[in-house]
Symmetry: D2
Subunit: 353 residues, 4 copies
């Protein structure tokens, strides 16, 4: 296995799996002499941890951050910053009935075929637990970005068929509910739907929208590392994602140039159909993109599958799973965005005209 | 500027801009002693070149491939394979009226702000011409993949509001028309729409679907280099793309786990909602993804913009532009896919269990 | 700070500094299902640890390896293998008299000028302690190489002016003494010299020779990643190294082509002046190279220097330092060599003709 | 084959082999709006080209630089700068007698074993001709460094047993002779020795010393990318190099700490034993290193070898070869140094405290 690192000037390397001692991250390339607000990092961890919201798994893990290196007297030294989350609540018994079968919608089958390993306890590196390391790195990135005036906020805009129209999005209501849904009322319907599916042993997908504000003009490169290309890479590397679109996204396919082009005058752009990027480089407008998440594959309804000997069988996945991935994924989307934006931002100094 | 290379084990580096002597590509990491079918490479170039189809720009360029290195007695030696396309038909006069203004929907503004350069003749590295180098590299990649039994085919499934439903897609009709539209009849409507918009000085967007068949299980890594993440990066690095989705894509947001999970029996998967990837690793099923393209930004209707001194002005973009990018982009989508798949395929040998 | 990773297909990322919680390493890219002999890894750590030999510092540290990730039921899973060594014996008092001055021959001055940090407790990332993470990674690499029949052994062949001539090197005597000196008798003189310099508060340099046996033909690339170039990079990245030479090395400057060329017949090469590499690619012969180490900069004789305010001062470095770096560096040279060779070896599968 | 690129923030990719159309280089990452002095680049090419000095091969090649991309109105645009040298004087007949045998001291054997290719016409990518692309990239790098006040000069200080002692080095005499030998008188002896060996059909090795002046404090990273490590990598990637040392180099092995440490006062360092680097980071002093070159392997004396069927044979290498590589290698050493230093220099902006 390879490619457990991401980023160019500032890179993160994550490690750890559910069954091991710890998951963690090494961040390389940070500027020195920057104060690390560990409380903020922990608060971001709490947004993602199992048991952190009433709509997700009741399984509780504390996800406490511990710093191994890179700090001296409260400040980031610029040396590799290593943070780990020790594994504490691993109830292996949960997985006893599935250790020989490939769960539908999971990485079990492909992982086994590729590596010859069938680790039933949470999926090895394919486990959602790996994203806790990304959230830690994202939190640190956000701190640096905050100083540069850049803010990253994601929100749920669709769960199943409950969808916010553009004029229903009220960003100020985003933190009024556990779903980070920017419409308090629709949030209630979404919560009801999620709870209903939990009761039925099923699950549901959704869409997360992310907005990045305060960006300068100039992030991204014109060819392979367009800002939307690097973001798409980062976002689609989060498990369960099935789509990425920026600005008008798939809707742009239906538009005419005269509708989609963002005209401008001396005071700025008149519209933002492009979502904050032209030619792969940030325009200085808000960067706006959306991510599609599939329904959680772990459901307790019976499903057809095979075991390691390729014999037909039926599996019922017990245990305490999230009926919808989105509530806990909001902070992961923000984290991967922060990691990308900080990397591109740091690169500006290299490229100054 | 940086990051003009893409790929890990097999990498491509593209160079060249519209105003220069040539555009080209260096491919590094190819296996030696493989015959190079240059006629095939040229035929792929012809699919992309300006003037290559009746629905695009009438501007004709020959886009003839010339090999500078990496070949000996008709075979790829494994040393860097360099191919160039010399620039021949550069009518600078076309651009005289726009040299001081920023064209809406183009990279002009961001490129100028970032690099201090406003090169009116075709957009520097942001020019669509850069993709000719990708097509050359993609053609070589396809030759290697063909030997491995892997085939990559893209098709237009939507132009504006003319859209193929799933049951209207007849893959065998894909090569019956210039649009690579897998429905002969709808292709005619699409062509009419494109011609209509050309007459009105406007343009239109569309969607390209790509199918990759013959893949083994095991391409892609479980964390940052999931097959869909690397593909999304590659595809979103093509100019004018606004979205990427795989399998059910954004539709997965509306589904339940019981609907979206691909169950299986001893003979294989029963459905392919996932689009050929689980946990970021290819399942051996067809890989199916879709790409949204925005309408061509170059339109001849008057648009509001500013000049380099940030004074309000109106621009009318003359010249011979494609009213829809999609017909020429089909082969570019295939090319970037081929480059990604060959890179991941070559990596299998590194990872064997 | 950046570039705390090394390697291409198999990469190591080290982290940690003397004052922190731990130093450690993440190894990415290992093949799965390989048994990890942790006792061997620990035995390699013991060869490097402070207090591990009678000629070095009497400061004792246990340097116990702890695995955080990448192991399941005793086997390497192929996921990132993370090993840490927790810091236990950090007596900060040792450094109180030097916290404001730049020690001659140390990184203090350059590190402070570059990062604005003067961490007196052991030099931050410039500390020799960082090499413990390399030794752990090197030990794991050696285990994989052993299975491939490749062996790496280093030895001290010079301390100060006490030097082994070619005919004095008896490789079988290499493990008869703490210096890994392949001549038992000269080892005694070297030990006496080291102890004499310790008594005088001074230090001395030396040369380490490394031999790699069992290599196949074909490691290394013809251009930038010649095997000797990658080895030179790896070896010169060890602190206190001042030179690297392979085969005849600097002596080749004095030779004629007719003397230096290695002729061959059907049974193989007749000589090995080249040191096992031609055109940057391993010949299948023994790879033989030498590394020059400078004398330990920490000496207790008074030295002229300046403080952080650039005022003239004199410094006397107390504490328990190694009068010669070489004895503890032998295993570090082996470790970096093992990391390089495993990386190049794994790449063979990518390059097969 | 892979790894035909070098560098991190600014990278070069070289391509081409003796038998092909051209050799060339793509430089990625240059800052825009910098004037390209093509005459200077050509003058550097002339220092390396065959026939450029009376002591080398009488084979003449013009090595004319042609720019394919990256320039607009005489200025570097920051887009990939591609320069090629077309192959003109390829007399294949020269190689007819050696096409089936492995020349001693050449890459023929290892290259064939690795890639299954025996290209007699100049050694494929192992040909010295590949270095012309490096010289072009080095020349461009020198132009950028010159503006930063950094100068790179190399000189021959030893040919065979003719060696300059420290007090014989008179840097101002370096350009008085074709050997770039900083001692006019010794240069004559060296020239006589080279001519003598040519007459005898033999060859000889030598040492090149390189001095870099005007460096700021702070180039290089403390761990894997120490300035001396990256330089060693770059330099040892030049064909025929056998050793690299910096500052006191191998002599440091004989020294005591009290002799080797560079003490300082408020006006600066009192000595420069370290060669301009402490802890892998430039001190602001002159960077001084030496490179050992082996004797040219192409000699016309009969040598024992085997053919592709591993049958014993004798080879006499005819043709017009350099009896000593060093005179043409001086500019190559400078070029690789310039490429490294520019890369590290550009990185300073990323790392600012």
């Amino acid at each position: 296995m390879a490619h457990n690192s991401f980023g160019k000037n500032i890179s993160i390397t994550t490690f750890g799996e559910s069954h091991g001692q710890a998951v963690g991250v090494v961040i390389d390339g940070l500027k020195p002499n920057f104060p690390l607000d560990l409380e903020f990092v922990q608060s971001e961890m709490d947004r993602r941890r199992p048991g952190g919201n009433s709509l997700g798994t009741p399984r509780k893990e504390s996800d406490t951050i511990k710093v191994l290196s890179g700090i001296y007297q409260g400040k980031i030294t610029g040396t590799p910053l290593t943070m780990i989350i020790e594994n504490t609540n691993q109830i292996s018994a949960d997985y006893s009935n599935i250790e020989d079968v490939f769960r539908p919608g999971h990485a079990d089958y492909t992982y086994f075929k590729k590596y010859g390993i069938r680790d039933p306890r949470g999926g090895g590196r394919s486990s959602g637990r790996e994203t806790s390391a990304r959230v830690a790195a994202g939190a640190v990135s956000k701190l640096y970005l905050k100083e540069a005036g850049i803010k990253i906020e994601a929100a749920i805009t669709q769960i199943g068929n409950i969808k916010l129209d553009k004029d229903e999005i009220k960003w100020e209501e985003r933190t009024s509910n556990e779903l980070y849904c920017p419409n308090k009322k629709k949030a209630e319907s979404m919560a009801a739907l999620i709870n209903d599916l939990r009761d039925r042993g099923d699950s549901v997908g959704g869409i997360i929208e992310c907005r990045i504000t305060g960006l300068p003009v100039g992030l991204g490169d014109p060819v392979f590392d367009k800002i939307e290309a690097v973001l798409a890479h980062a976002i689609m590397s989060i498990g369960a994602t099935k789509g990425f679109e920026i600005g008008e996204g798939f809707n742009a396919a239906t538009m005419h140039g005269s509708q989609n082009n963002d005209q401008r005058n001396s005071e700025g752009f008149l519209t933002n159909h492009c979502g904050g990027t032209l030619g792969g480089i940030s325009t200085g407008q808000d960067l706006v993109f959306r991510v599609a998440f599939k329904p959680t594959p772990s459901i307790s309804l019976p499903q057809r599958t095979v075991n390691k000997e390729n014999q037909d069988t039926t599996v019922v996945i017990e245990g305490r799973h999230d009926p919808c991935i989105c509530p806990r994924a909001v902070v992961v989307v923000e984290a991967m965005s922060a990691i990308v934006i900080l990397d591109l931002y740091s690169q500006l100094s290299l490229e100054a005209n």
